[in-house]
């Protein structure tokens, strides 16, 4: 019984971290219409920077600054934001598929750099030597995981509330205006490119926050953590959950991560012994089927964006954020 509870806490921690990332992407895609194909680069920048800034000294690569943890995490967010600012300046005038492939390229280049530049982040071996905050006080048993989960959950809720407010604010309306009709927004004297860049950087800082928490949770990050699979996973969570809806984004994260892990557990538990070796492939087929099935069943996502008519005053969808 304790086992189940302990596992569920662990599962919920990972899912919550991913949910924070999905929220960041939702600001970019759901609210602003920016097709970020390089999610993993900003997530990774957060993870790497947090561990490098907060870790103990390591031979052979940058690191060992041993910063106070919240500062290291802020540094991770800043690194993601800085990267987003540069990438945004270069690419945000591109539209849809073109933006997607350009940002995807950034993510591939990021992974390549982390894999090859041993002086920077240990190369393929990755970055270790990170002490999880408060570990000395709590040990690293169940109590630690429980507290870590509580922390992540708080950050998730704070991010959610922040985004709900942001979306309901005039700035949020501006984002949707630009998403729907850029020329009209521009004709009202707004600067679409500046607004888009702001949204892109803000979303990426949130992705960096998720990455930082992820790196903290595992006390380790390597190029294997920043492969395109993660971009796909986070996107699938958003699309299945419902783009444009923050609760949908969180729901999608738990649902897809649940499907991803539960399929493996179910196969290991119920598949006959002779097919156990093939369950890896079966699991991928199951995951693919869940995603395809969800999208056939509810193509607009489980909790779709609620259309808001701004003239009526306060948008209904954001009441709980007030």
């Amino acid at each position: 019984m304790i086992g189940i509870f302990s596992y569920l806490i662990f599962f919920a921690t990972t899912a919550s971290i991913l949910a924070i990332a999905v929220l960041g992407l939702n600001l970019q895609w759901g609210n602003t219409g920016l097709f970020n194909g390089g999610v993993v680069a900003f997530f990774g920048a957060g993870a790497y920077a947090t561990l490098i800034l907060g870790g103990t000294a390591q031979a052979g690569h940058l690191g060992g600054f041993g910063l106070f943890y919240p500062l290291a995490l802020l540094g991770g967010m800043a690194a993601a934001g800085l990267m987003a600012w540069i990438v945004g300046l270069l690419t945000l005038r591109l539209r849809h598929d073109y933006l997607a492939i350009a940002t995807f390229g950034v993510a591939v280049a990021f992974e390549n750099l982390m894999r090859n530049a041993e002086w920077l982040a240990g190369g393929a071996k990755g970055v270790r030597g990170f002490e999880r905050p408060l570990r000395a006080a709590l040990g690293d048993g169940f109590a630690y995981n429980l507290l870590f989960f509580a922390g992540v959950l708080l950050i998730l809720i704070a991010t959610y509330l922040f985004l709900e407010r942001l979306v309901a604010s005039p700035f949020g309306r501006l984002l949707r205006a630009i998403r729907e009709d850029e020329a009209a927004a521009a004709s009202l004297g707004k600067s679409p490119s500046k607004v888009r860049l702001t949204a892109f950087v803000t979303g990426s800082v949130i992705l960096g926050l998720a990455g930082g928490l992820y790196g903290t949770f595992y006390a380790f990050v390597s190029p294997q953590d920043v492969l395109p699979t993660l971009t796909f996973q986070i996107w699938a969570m958003l699309i299945v959950g419902g783009a444009g809806n923050n609760r949908g984004a969180i729901f999608g994260a738990f649902l897809i991560w649940g499907a991803w892990t539960l399929s493996g557990w179910a196969l290991s538990r119920f598949a006959p012994v002779d097919v156990q070796l093939y369950t890896g492939s079966f699991q991928f087929i199951l995951i693919g089927s869940v995603i395809v099935g969800m999208l056939m069943w509810r193509p607009q996502g489980l909790l779709p964006e609620r259309l808001v008519v701004s003239q009526r005053g306060k948008p209904q969808s954001t009441q709980q954020g007030e």
């Binding site: 662990f10 990972t14 595992y218 294997q224 953590d225 493996g264 290991s268």
Partner: protein, 420 residues
Amino acid sequence: MSIVRTMGATVGLAFGISALAGAAHAQDCTTKIGAVLPTSVDWGRPIAETAQFAVDQVNAAGGAAGCQIEMVLRDTQVDPKVGVDAAKALVDLEGVNVLLGAVSSGVSMPILTSVTVPSGVLQMSCCSSSTAFTGLATEGKTGGLWFRTFATTGVQSAVGAKVAADQGYKSVAILYKNDDWGQDMARLIAADFAAVGVDVTASVAINDAQPNYRAEVTDALTSQPEALYLALYPAEGTAAVREWLSLGGTQNMILANSLKSDEFRDNVGMQYLGSALGTDTASPRSESADAFRAAYQERFASEPNGPGLANSYDAAMIALLAMEAAGKDASGADVAAAIARVTDPDGTAVSADTAGFVAAKEVLASGGNVMFQGATGNVRFDANGDVSAPAVIWSFSDEGTEEVEFMSLNDVDAFMASLK
């Protein structure tokens, strides 16, 4: 099978009431061990198959610590978070206290730091080669729960350099897999080649998941080496070597043990592999050394050739021997502590098969220690959970592979010292 069971029972009888009770009990209890391996990847599936093979042999010997063993297998998808979650589920939901895996260092490491060490579970990896584990262990952060049967890359590279020197190659080009293992190999082998006076004309990284390696091969080819050194896995190794040969590259090749694979031999073609020499860690010279090979052939109708197969077998076998030594209801730490008892250089030698396990039970029950003569050699762990082993130089043959030269642990150590 039944003969082995009977043997197991006989052994139990010979060792008094308590052992007998254990053997009788073996019929109605099951202990689960966990395995997190990349079964959805070409080279991962056989590794899992071999681990299961070791478990089956142990069950044929009446199980370990009085119970039959069930290996619960989960796929890592080579994705760290998937692997970590799977490991956590095995520990929390299945209650395992012995975990085999993972293969990639990037997956094994977060499992170690966030699952097995906090939960006090023994983790035994067949194939994670990163030096980061040694670093972690020296800092005392593995809690003595981490082991790997993958001999440090130093042995491989030193023997590779010896091959080049013995063959009289003046210059060699290197193709290496661009992961932590390959990067280590490339760096070590370049230093070792330099130490024996062999020129490295080019050292080219082969990245995963690229549609073709034509450019990389051309790069190595235009540096005009006398021989080619390959630290690759079979899939990209096949692609690169076929490309290399078709462009008229030399057939003088030195192969890391990851290419000791039937798939690689068949897809490249025996006619081109006549002057290819491989390196590997080896079993000791003893009667029982071929036990693993023979049993494997009987089960799979092929030689145990492929990256990590022998290591995976040893990882599973040593973990199970340690479970036997630690006794029923032992914790992960108890099992980890018992590993020294089953890899004791002064212990009774036991072979790598069912009969060996039966014999080991006998010795352990009487309080003795055993020395497991594994598929990769006389496996012996140091304080950091790393192993060293004798080495062998091999070549491909029509049946599989054959041994060209054997180097004892002392020979290997002496040669490595001469390189410094």
